[in-house]
């Protein structure tokens, strides 16, 4: 069974980067695929990778992560409008998917779609 957990933007907006990453990793380590409203910034993504590496062990192999956004706008009016919305409401455009690597084998991303390749839980080895 796959569990998909939605985390709305307002659940993360008051958290600092460390708290945000801890919250996301906690859910991923419970074998949930997390769907986050909005995107992590580049620094938070790097922090997520660092924290993931620190936590890797026999049962936790890491994460698969992918975010989608519509940042390649040609229309500058739309970009300005989006910039203002971001300033007033926070960066809630797009979404981010994070899943445990033992559950999500690969996330393939094209500019406008993502595909999650899931697999059986890793076979057990001695």
């Amino acid at each position: 069974m796959l569990t998909l957990q939605f985390i709305p933007y307002h659940d993360l907006e008051d958290l600092n980067s460390n708290q945000k990453v801890s919250k996301l990793l906690k859910s991923v380590r419970e074998n949930k695929i997390v769907l986050v409203e909005g995107k992590l910034d580049a620094g938070e993504e790097a922090l997520l990778i660092q924290r993931t590496m620190e936590e890797i062990n026999r049962s936790f192999k890491g994460v698969e992560i992918c975010s989608l956004d519509y940042y390649h706008q040609e229309d500058w009016v739309k970009n300005v409008r989006r910039g203002l919305a971001k300033m007033l409401l926070g960066n809630r455009a797009g979404f981010t998917v994070i899943g445990p690597a033992s559950l999500v084998r690969e996330i393939r991303k094209d500019p406008n779609k993502i595909e999650l390749l899931t697999g059986n839980m890793k076979r057990k080895r001695k």
Binding site: A42, T52, M53
Partner: protein, 209 residues
Amino acid sequence: MVSFFDFINRLFFNVFKGRKHIRLGIYGPVNAGKSSIANRICLDWIGEEMSEVSRIPHETREIKVKEQVEIEKSGKKLSFHLVDTPGIATKVDYEDFLRFGLSNKEAKKRAKEATKGVIEAIKWLENVDCVLVVLDATKNPYDQVNITIIGNLAARNIPVLIVANKTDLRQANIKRVKAAFPQYNVVGVSALKGHNMEDFYHELFEVVR
């Protein structure tokens, strides 16, 4: 986010260093050919390699620095310390190494060192002045690791040259890499065969300028 202090520090560092001791970082995902690029540059200009390469992922698990590499093109000189970094990944599974014939013990050791290497590579983002982001031109460029690396460099205002490596392979698709990162200079090379290195050095001078 770059702090005001970092910004001022970088500004003054760039003005006064006279471009004599640039730290040129080589970043990218695992097995993209970062060490092959480092070796090709070193072979071309100092006649010796700097890193081991292997088809087993995470061969480079520590930061390696080659000091005072000097390249010359059209009468212009560029001197830098070349920093070869471990590949950045979001997952490390020791069982993946078993497929390459490593023993259980060796695989676990390699996995542990690999996780430390990824952390070290991310920390070193603070210490580089210009970066070659090496991507495997046969793979999907939209991978989140690539986006995270480039996003972090952009946030620090560090100049970037994207190197689409492995162009000698039939599946290589440089157009796709260019389409994924339209705001960056992209050059296709085969570090292994030494293809298109002239263009690479030209682009390097452009980016460091």
